[in-house]
Symmetry: C2
Subunit: 436 residues, 2 copies
């Protein structure tokens, strides 16, 4: 049987990985898929870079429509990235009746509902394993491996750049800005790292997992997103002293009041497996009512790890392209008519535990005032750490871990605390999750 | 559409879990599968136990053939266990044209090749996600998630009982026999724990993963199997001092000389994620050439975790029963005509690192003799720990970590060591894997 003919849009790092892996493992892949996979034509505006990557292994064109409208092409891989031209081209490929494989989390997170609707109309596959957690087959696990479960929550380290930065900040006691520069020098962070360090990339991925886990539409626009740019090394240190590690987590939970969907730095107990995921590695912890906790760990980015996911999707296309569309695994795991439009709760409505750091005057009665404010909001204290004032200073750090409470209660308590004359400056608040 | 009609053979703990989860999550499951799943008839010799578990939710019979030959039954779940009657019934179900879902690792490990051949003949699905690592969707990850990769090796904590025992031995410094009794009392070990503690259960699972990873037949009969019954608390302690943890691993590797397939206690560096998998939890680390390391963690046993895997297989049957057999994912991941009969190497041929513990006389020249023996076999030393002799004793423990060498060289070195008059008693040898 003739190899399946693939068109590639965007010949960058991941595209290079796809070529390399397909070439190196073509025999192994065909032993599994029962059919070869061949990239026949590649579109990229940068002909020189494309030529370097493609190395005469495929035809190179500048016009993406020459790929999309090529009658021999059965699948289009989109590796352009971003929401702009990528969206237009993916919709054009679908309209042309091509199956699509994409690694583009931004695209799926922002325009997924529209794209899947178009694909459903044309009966084509849109596969996106590479869009979440790179080489880890987490989309397959959620869509197919855990189908027996009512999934209760997901918490993931799904951005390698920020996990690398946080690991370095902890190991070396350095501040964010210093480590970011180092990460950029080493290639772990991009020249413009905004999407990573502000949590947007993680929110894209969390939004996709949320939809697949709960059978709701992709709702990136409703996600609460905080990055790590304001995180101080001292909070990482205090968290360690209290037995916690700080990670940037993408979290989505099902609650009786709606869905939580949020990305922010989070304290987690040190002895959780996910707390020990270091450097640029990714991990996703999933809690299902039948299976309990499962965790999936691996490289979340990089040329070949991402190519691993892209090619796994191509193998699935080989297998399932001849299957009637209504028998395939649904794009977002749930049958289209069974997707429920559950509301994503505003951040004020969510319930979690908190780490608070206050700079307080070293005077009697300070603690009494603060604990009274918490008690007034019905917030109970789980642990408290008061540092000794340094010699010659009459101020000190006070760290409080609370039990679970609603965010708006906590915000109200903080507002009251900052008004106390003995509380000097703002109150640092970091959310805490037990993940058990 | 009418729910798919399922027959169940064996109404025990897992069968109960399947009923409970199907009932509790029927809506969620149908939202995904697009069709309901209904257990219509259950066969069990113990009518009383069956009645308790089934609770009028299905017809109960004593004769398994009444399930197999029921024309309304489309899928048969086999939860009897063991190689005996389970094999006869699974083959009978296949012969009757039924799809089969089984949690029976012994059956697949020992008779898998025969069963898959029969199933291929009849064009039916035989699904066995629950046979390896319980609720963790590791079969799906290996068969479908990592299809781009040349898988190089797998190392798994795939027996919860022994991992629980090893965790307790380390935490409490207790010996094997003591902890085993405690584990039996708590229900973590069975009354007859032979299959678990002797490594046989882990070897069943490793044999299945080996076949799926490398595209070879299931070769349980060629696995090298050592359990944890001879493991001393002191070795766990010394390993910790050297920065290692001891786990019972199921290991399978691809080497230029053949396939390694072995189960034995193994030292692994403490900072590996898998070294931190505690209690009865399971984890499987997979190394693929494109994706690098991925790891899958969760509950490897228990009623609902196992049911989670069984029901995921049922959902797959709902989806793929109408797909032509040659388009489905092959039973053992590779197309039948592409399975290669690669030899499993005898244990003497494998290459790994070693932990050695010797009781030696506290005399000059002892170390020189021992290191010379290792040097003669071309074995280089990675670390050495000599304990101070206790007051009044003229013997001491010597611990050696070696670099990689072939097992037969190590055995030869040990034979020479035991002949030294300064080496008192036998030499304890535990294999060591870096897993990087």
């Amino acid at each position: 049987m003739k190899p399946i003919q693939v068109g590639l849009l965007g010949a960058g790092t991941v595209g290079g990985g796809v070529f390399t892996v397909l070439q190196r493992n073509h025999e192994e892949i065909e032993r599994r898929a029962g059919r070869g996979i061949e990239i026949a034509v590649v579109a990229d505006l940068d002909q020189e870079r494309a030529a370097q990557i493609v190395q005469n292994r495929a035809k190179i064109v500048t016009d993406a429509y020459q790929v999309i409208n090529d009658p021999t092409v059965e699948v289009v891989i989109e590796l352009i990235g971003g929401y702009g031209i990528a969206k237009t081209l993916v919709l054009a490929a679908i309209a042309a009746g091509k199956h699509v494989v994409t690694a583009n989390k931004a695209l799926i997170a922002v325009h997924g509902n529209e794209i899947f609707a178009a694909a459903r109309e044309k009966g084509v596959i849109v596969a996106f394993e590479a869009a979440v957690a790179g080489g880890i087959p987490i989309i397959k696990a959620l869509r197919e491996g855990l189908t027996a479960n009512r999934i209760e929550w997901i918490a993931g380290i799904i951005n390698g750049t920020t996990n690398f930065i946080l690991s370095e900040m902890r190991d070396k006691g350095l501040d964010f800005e210093v480590v970011l520069k180092e990460a950029q020098r080493l290639g772990y962070a991009e020249a413009d790292p905004t999407f990573d360090i502000e949590g947007i990339d993680a929110a894209h991925k969390a939004s996709i997992m949320s939809a697949i886990a709960f059978g709701v539409p992709v709702q990136f626009d409703k996600a609460h997103v905080e990055g790590i740019t304001n995180l101080a090394a001292i909070d990482i240190k205090y968290a360690e002293e209290l037995g916690y590690r700080i990670k940037l987590l993408g979290i989505t939970k099902r609650t009786p009041d709606g869905i939580e969907l949020r990305v922010h730095p989070t304290l987690i107990p040190k002895d959780r497996l996910i707390a020990n995921v270091e450097g640029a590695m990714n991990a996703v912890q999933v809690f299902g009512d039948a299976v309990g906790t499962t965790l999936y760990y691996g490289k979340g980015a990089g040329s070949e790890p991402t190519a691993s996911a892209v090619i796994a999707d191509l193998v699935d296309v080989v297998r399932y392209q001849s299957v009637p569309a209504d028998k395939r695994v649904p794009y977002l795991a749930f049958q289209e008519d069974k997707v429920i439009n559950t509301v994503v709760m505003p951040i004020g409505e969510i319930t979690t535990s908190y780490y608070l750091r206050l700079k307080v005057a070293d005077e009697t009665g300070v603690l009494a005032n603060i604990t009274k404010i918490l008690a007034d909001q019905d917030i109970s204290i789980d642990a408290l750490l008061q540092k000794e004032a340094l010699a010659g200073q009459n101020q000190t750090d006070l760290i409080i871990l609370t039990h679970k409470t609603q965010e708006k209660r906590m915000l109200s308590a903080i507002e009251h605390m900052t008004k106390l004359p003995t509380v000097l400056g703002g109150v640092i608040k970091i959310r805490l999750e037990e993940l058990s």
